[in-house]
Symmetry: C2
Amino acid sequence: MSEALIKRIKELEADLEKLKSQLQERSEAGDDVELMSNTSPNEDTHCKLNSNTTTSSISSKKGNKASKARAFDFSANPRRHVALRLAYLGWSYQGFAVQENTDNTVEARLFEALLKTRLIQERQTSNYHRCGRTDKGVSAFSQVITIDLRSTQFCGGLGVTVPEHVVAGAKNKANGSELPYVKMLNRVLPQDIRVLDWAPAAEGFSARFDCQSRTYRYYFPRGSLDVTLMADAAKRYEGTYDFRNLCKMDVGNGVLQFERTILSASVKPVRPQLISGVDQYDLFMFEIKGLGFLYHQVRCMMALLLLIGQKLEAPEIINQLLDVKSNPRKPQYSMAVDYPLVLHDCHFEGLSWKQETEEVTHVLSTLQQHWTQSAVRTHVLHGMIQGLEARGGVSSNHCSLIEGSRQRNYRPLLERPCCESLESRINHFVKRGRLEREEGESGGEMVLRGKRSKHSHSSPGLPAPSEMPLANKSTHQQAEPLLTGE
Amino acid sequence: MSEALIKRIKELEADLEKLKSQLQERSEAGDDVELMSNTSPNEDTHCKLNSNTTTSSISSKKGNKASKARAFDFSANPRRHVALRLAYLGWSYQGFAVQENTDNTVEARLFEALLKTRLIQERQTSNYHRCGRTDKGVSAFSQVITIDLRSTQFCGGLGVTVPEHVVAGAKNKANGSELPYVKMLNRVLPQDIRVLDWAPAAEGFSARFDCQSRTYRYYFPRGSLDVTLMADAAKRYEGTYDFRNLCKMDVGNGVLQFERTILSASVKPVRPQLISGVDQYDLFMFEIKGLGFLYHQVRCMMALLLLIGQKLEAPEIINQLLDVKSNPRKPQYSMAVDYPLVLHDCHFEGLSWKQETEEVTHVLSTLQQHWTQSAVRTHVLHGMIQGLEARGGVSSNHCSLIEGSRQRNYRPLLERPCCESLESRINHFVKRGRLEREEGESGGEMVLRGKRSKHSHSSPGLPAPSEMPLANKSTHQQAEPLLTGE
């Protein structure tokens, strides 16, 4: 009996080893995410997918990291409230925010790096705020977070808190330079997540609440789209409107009012100087700047533009869907796919970004190598497409940027079945005891159970920070749906 | 004791499941190789890497396939000698030709498909010839093979052999249409390998020996390269020369003469109409057409062009390296990387390609979707690059298309150490008994041991087919190094 069991154990161990090496091999085959590395690019053209992935799933190592962190005496060092600006390619991640069911998020990697470099002791006490969440597949060029990091500035400085027990003496000499946060983090972050710069921030400054505006970009090829019509349509988004029909309602997370302000919205070619004629392979971008965005808002807005570009809807459909009195319920339609979306800018006033030029140049260099790979592959594909077209292959008009499969017969939006109304969703949560009516300044209103009225902090035009109180601090999944646009 | 063992077994089984799902997840995250599918693209934006990979490594399934094949009565059906034209993206494969140490080759997938569809009984008896081999990472738009496939043409036809024992009667009615080879194979091939068309071929027609010319393309971005100088340099390749200094000598495989003919060589923009000014992000291509190519020849030629484009060498270096009297030994230099190279065309006279337009349109459609993904990602990267340049990031001049790490100080080619001379390599193999001197038409000459003189079949300008006899038929690795250019 034991012999059979031992034999089975040996078989399983062998299988395990085999799968592990397959996993490793597959990691090494994953070119597209070896990005923005500080190492020499040509040393290994097929770098590891994500150097931290395999280690992070082993709980014993996490234990080691945590105990290392505890061994370090954080209390002996100053703390500094800073803003960090990040860029990342979201294609290999399950989103920015930490999640319960997966370790594969940008934030998870970020916190591993912060802990490994001992810039923070632990997340819970790091005073961490993020400007916005990006969804699975969505990238960012300017994601900003604020956090308290270890500092060398015993003599104080903007955002610095010097430890109380520090004795006057050697440590109170004039400050040397601050820790090279950008370099320290980039050295340990995966290649496709980079810190671009940092800025000291006054106590209380919050990436989440002090963001002035956010800008997204959505890249798409012209194909057979009428981009002029799309540009006309995009302009109709500008202004302050109720966007409930252009988002995924997130009532369960406390999002109850859908009025948002779009500062600018445009559709234009990526490289204007090159546009001559009407080449289906030209790339365009939808660029949108707003104060705050609802969940999946930008992707819904893009979906409408794609329908308009295909002449399946008229530009007026935008005005109609923004008219929630006439159209209180959202027609069922799929949003645009994730990978072309980039959180391009999060704008803050009063931050003085300390760029480390060498770091920026490193990132630039690696980005250029990966651009090269990507651009070359794009042209290999393009060359084959041209070859097939020359042989009589018929070009497809299918727009592959809208999720879901292609419908045989198009059904106009206003003739489609609708999603639940806002009121219906609210009642749903009231019945489950998660929302309750509360008397407030504006009369009867809905708030999440046990939380303050959402209007107690709001100022016109800015999203109310208290609207999405964290129901459960340990899962950040419920934070700031208001501020995301994906 | 048993309890502990059982517990261990359970743990291992759980780990195995976990790794399997990680492997699956990682496969699903590998976007870049889900290509040229016949299924709806949007059903699953993150398709499996290579649907045949996981099954092919399980030997029991191979056994099943083989026994299925044997159960089918091939001898009852006509055979047809055909040419198949393939396109594939080589980025996920370890090359075209079957190898001993890996299953991950284009040919391996091709033969799985041929066996699964019962178009052949087994490789050994299928009369298979291939036009050329492409190396790991290299793609092809027109790879041609010839092979004998099952046919429905009992009444005969070009290339058809009707079974001798077929009785006159029902089966001798007028032929219906031939088997839809293209569709049958594409249905079972992985998404990044496609059959484009087929042609009936006369008995004896060989993809290997009857190829009139081969055309390669190498795509590259302008960067800071002087493309005018490169275009001038490329022209110097045209003609018939001894290319021993521009290839990886493969004496061990019987390649003993290095004279080849280049019919045309050029460097030009991919999209000429768009070139205005000198944008580093413009794409160019090196296109080269020849009768036959040596091992890694095109990549060596490209490496020289890149050095010339960077003004590290003058265009005259080409003439110098083609002058094997003055420069009998190759200076040590790295070749260009693999992924931008495409075997664009293999030209044959006398073949009548039977294109299935529906199939071509399918391939086109899927190629376009993947072009979209690739082009969008390219522009996401480009947008970030522009953003960093705007912030003062300094663009790197490093040309990432040459293998190996960047040298701090450039050393001119003619001042570098050289590789072994041809004579030295020949002596090396003579000593080991693998080559022997043999009296031939041209006086004393070297041939692989036991094989006929290489000059017995040659015609000027064409590679001698008998030059690379298969030392071991079961490993095709030694076949046709002469005909490859990578």
